[in-house]
């Protein structure tokens, strides 16, 4: 089930990507990607116990198909 409003935004952004220079859309996209990754890094720096628990989950996940 896809939210129609979200889908409309996806289409608008994809149209922007299609019709603009790669450097232009990627500069904006990178702000989203890099800030999310940096937030996660900061989160794990602050909360090493949670990092440890997530790691354990990854190890268990590796055992499932």
């Amino acid at each position: 089930m896809v939210d129609n409003e979200r889908l409309e935004f996806i289409r608008l952004w994809a149209d922007y990507v299609r019709t603009h220079e790669d450097r232009e859309w990627s500069r904006q996209q990178n702000k989203v990607i890099d800030s999310q990754i940096n937030s996660v890094r900061e989160f794990y720096r602050r909360y090493p116990e949670i990092k440890k628990r997530i790691l354990e989950r990854y190890r268990l996940k590796g055992l499932k198909k």
Partner: protein, 192 residues
């Protein structure tokens, strides 16, 4: 972005943290085996405005000796395996399971590798597209197969949005007949 030929797309994008991580991983991986990138990162590579915790890479099977060398070289390049030791990692791969590598001291984002086990994964490797970005070339799944995979097999809200993004960005080049063909193939694999 532009199609250079039927199997090559040229991208002149600025690199994100995800791109840099992947390129540094592939610099090592490509010495040992053939690979193809699938799933969410393919949509992200072409502009989808979201991050991901992992990048999925399907590889051709390698033997224990080659894997040991790959593992060592990844470690020398500041990667570590987050879900298994060297020996266990190889056993997981042999069982058709996934092994994840991240930069040292990190767990997200990570790169997930697995040996190809299904017909769809074999098709993805054998028919991979090349994407040229800043003097590098990476191999990704055919777009039609990616769309079919996300719409038929995964089908979560995020996956359907990824598929829609690819459909819109490549609206002039997606071969709908091919997408339908892949959908039928995946439906039949699903039944098994």
């Amino acid at each position: 972005m532009e199609w250079v030929d039927d199997y090559t797309i040229k991208l002149d994008k600025e690199l994100s943290e995800l791109d840099k991580l992947l390129f540094s991983f592939l610099q090592v991986l490509r010495k040992y085996t053939n690979y193809v990138i699938v799933s969410g990162y393919v949509s992200i590579l072409f502009g989808r405005a979201r991050a991901t915790e992992d990048i999925d890479v399907i590889i051709e099977e390698i033997d224990w000796n080659a894997f040991q060398n790959l593992f060592k070289e990844l470690e020398n390049n500041e990667f570590w395996c987050i879900n298994a030791s060297e020996k266990n990692a190889f056993s997981l791969l042999e069982e058709g399971l996934r092994v994840r590598f991240a930069k040292k001291d990190e767990i997200i984002p990570n790169i997930e590798i697995k040996f190809y086990t299904s017909l769809a994964e074999k098709i993805a490797i054998e028919n991979a597209l090349s994407v040229a970005i800043q003097n590098r070339t990476i191999r990704i799944s055919p777009l039609e197969l990616q769309i079919a995979f996300k719409e038929v097999l995964l089908a979560s809200e995020k996956d359907l949005e990824d598929a829609e993004h690819l459909r819109e960005v490549f609206k002039d080049s997606i071969d709908e007949e091919k997408t339908e063909h892949y959908k039928k193939l995946l439906e039949s694999e699903k039944k098994w």
